[in-house]
């Protein structure tokens, strides 16, 4: 009689279905998965170490690169943690804009996740439709932040810039377009026999296991636990907005798909509410002075021709649009030790210039009190928390990011063992692993 042995199969780290870089070593018995070893760290870029070497405000570009499908949520999470450390609050309009941008990002994240999963199961058109919908939202993000991916839009104590004029109308149009795509994709997937059979009952995890592994977000909600940071520990203006937390019941791939689809609709609702409820910003106030280019304003200030500066406005480079004096108050805290002054003040008077330099020079930046805080926000994959330890200097002593992917990836073997080898693809897709967030 011949001896039977299980087979080892290596998938990744560079494999088209391994979104990003991760390596799975599977032990197979025929087609059945007997054991899985998950190896991570291929995209480790020392986020936490690098944050210890720069000032607080300089951490934002690093946070963009954590979950690079929804970077705005990372920005908001980090800013909220530092603001908690400082004990400051931000104007209501800025809070609404942060929620608005977070929800746009959540939709882009879920669209990417479902689209990529569907593509890997052969539904190429769904992928193209969903990426088209994501593009509509990226256009909005681009218009507000000036960038698509590495946006660095949020500031400690406020925002880089206010919303551009005419944004509300555009946003409503885009939301209608995204809704249309979602309905299209829903009709392509939800009653699709192939999709249904490959998702139903696959990649199951029990409620107890999910909790023990520390899983949060859509992955947890698919098991029937309605935990959402936005409801459990409301931050910004989430407690003033009306939304539901969709949950599943079985904790399999299909439920995760349903939860994500339902969450996108809730996020679109949140965006609409934000657009309607948001208090007016700069549009309400009007300055009567002329509009002067930045370089000219600096020259005039050097010569002391500053009589009319209180009424004048500076015209800025497109990347700084929306950060002039009339926008500044509406979206930023009044604490001068935290937020950079309006550009008219930096260019036009010595106090503003000093304030600016005091915040950007090493050893003079934002200096929170000695202490430690942990502040979670609801990322696209679950609870995204920043634990920051301050020693009173302008550089953080320690920045720890609790990434939602990490817990889910630790539980991945639990979901895979017992399933067939081909089930790896939908299960791994529904995890929505983002290597940037996982490996940091």
């Amino acid at each position: 009689m011949s001896e039977t042995r299980s087979m080892l199969l290596n998938v990744g780290p560079s494999h088209p279905a391994m979104h990003g870089v991760v390596r799975l070593v599977m032990e197979l018995d025929g087609e059945k998965i007997k054991n899985v070893d998950v190896e991570i760290g291929y995209l480790h870029r020392a986020f936490e170490k690098m944050c210890e070497t720069v000032m607080y405000a300089q951490c934002f570009p690093y946070t963009d690169r954590l979950n690079y499908v929804s970077p705005l949520i990372n920005n908001v999470g980090f800013a909220l943690s530092v603001e908690k450390l400082l004990g400051i609050s931000i104007p209501e309009r800025a809070q609404y804009i942060r929620v608005l941008m977070s929800e746009i990002s959540r939709v882009t994240d879920h669209l990417t996740c479902i689209g990529a999963t569907a593509m890997e199961m052969g539904a190429m058109s769904v992928f193209l439709y969903m990426i088209k919908a994501r593009e509509f939202l990226y256009e909005l993000i681009e218009e507000v932040t000036g960038a698509r991916l590495t946006i660095s839009y949020v500031r400690i104590g406020g925002l880089k810039a206010d919303l551009p004029s005419g944004f509300t109308d555009k946003a409503f149009k885009k939301i209608a377009q995204v809704r249309k795509v979602l309905i299209e994709c829903d009709s392509l997937l939800t009653r699709n026999r192939i999709f249904f059979d490959r998702m139903k009952g696959i990649g199951r995890i029990s409620k107890e296991d999910a909790i023990s592994y520390g899983i949060t977000g859509p992955f947890l909600r698919s098991t029937g636990v309605g935990y959402d940071v936005r409801k459990a520990h409301p931050y910004l203006v989430y407690d003033k907005l009306d939304f539901e937390v969709p949950t599943g019941s079985t904790g399999d791939n299909l439920d995760r798909y349903f939860v994500r689809m339902a969450e996108m609709e809730q996020s679109l609702r949140l965006i609409e509410q934000c657009l309607v409820k948001m208090p007016d910003g700069a549009i309400a106030s009007d300055l009567t002075g002329e509009i002067i280019p930045a370089s000219q304003m600096v020259d005039m200030a050097k010569l002391g021709e500053t009589e009319n500066f209180i009424e004048d406005e500076v015209s800025l480079d497109p990347t700084l649009e929306g950060s002039t004096r009339k926008h500044h108050q509406a979206i930023n805290t009044s604490d001068k030790g935290v937020i950079l002054p309006a550009k008219e003040n930096t260019y036009g008077n010595i106090e503003g210039l000093m304030n600016h330099f005091k915040l950007v020079m090493y050893g003079h930046g934002i200096q929170p009190p000695v202490g430690e805080v942990y502040r979670p926000v609801e990322g696209a994959n679950g609870e995204l928390g920043f634990y920051i330890v301050s020693d009173g200097r302008d550089e953080p002593w320690r920045v720890r990011v609790h990434s939602p992917c990490f817990a889910i990836m630790a539980a991945l073997p639990q979901c895979l063992i017992g399933d067939k080898m081909a089930d790896l693809i939908p299960t791994f897709g529904s995890v929505n692993m983002i290597a940037g967030e996982l490996d940091r």
């Binding site: 480790h44 023990s212 805080v373 002593w397």
Partner: protein
């Protein structure tokens, strides 16, 4: 009663320190008390911490330029969360520089497994009773522990062949 008060009532003088800076309730205990405390946090009905949300460590070598004295070089930091009561708690355990070792919590929360591997990888703190304590983000040949304060951020190490 907040979780902090419940713990203070039960453990009294065995706690090293407590604070609630910015509303984050924090308890500092000695390493010997960790397993008992973890069991207490998980099994007490009015606490019911079923989530070990986060586990990390902080290196306090020359903290604040030496102006602030710390009990020990390292502190292992646990963040607990209770789904039922919707409250949180931070638990900190000082760990000495010589022979940095602490009990593992893998038996109580499955999430501790990877978190403890990461702390071993980044800080070189060993966890007694961990089933498979090996590096997780770095590779096995990596020398040193990258998040220690005496590890230079720009240090280079030779590339490893396959």
């Amino acid at each position: 009663m907040t979780p902090l008060q419940t713990i203070q009532q039960h453990f009294e003088a065995r706690l090293i320190e407590t604070h609630d800076f910015r509303g984050d309730e924090t308890v500092v205990i000695a390493g010997g008390l960790l397993t008992e405390m973890a069991l207490f946090l998980k099994k007490t009905p009015e606490l019911d911490f079923n989530y070990l949300m986060d586990l990390t460590a902080v290196d306090y070598l020359f903290f604040a330029g030496g102006r602030i004295e710390k009990r020990a070089r390292f502190e292992v930091v646990y963040h607990f969360f209770s789904l039922k009561h919707n409250h949180r708690l931070r638990l900190k355990v000082p760990v000495e520089e010589q022979n940095p070792e602490i009990d593992s919590l893998t038996g109580l929360w499955a999430s501790a497994n990877w978190f403890e591997r990461e702390v071993w990888d980044m800080f070189g703190i060993r966890f007694k009773g961990h089933p498979d304590l090996k590096r997780i983000l770095m590779y096995e040949e990596f020398q040193g522990h990258a998040l220690r304060k005496d590890y230079p951020f720009n240090k280079r190490q030779p590339l490893i062949g396959l």
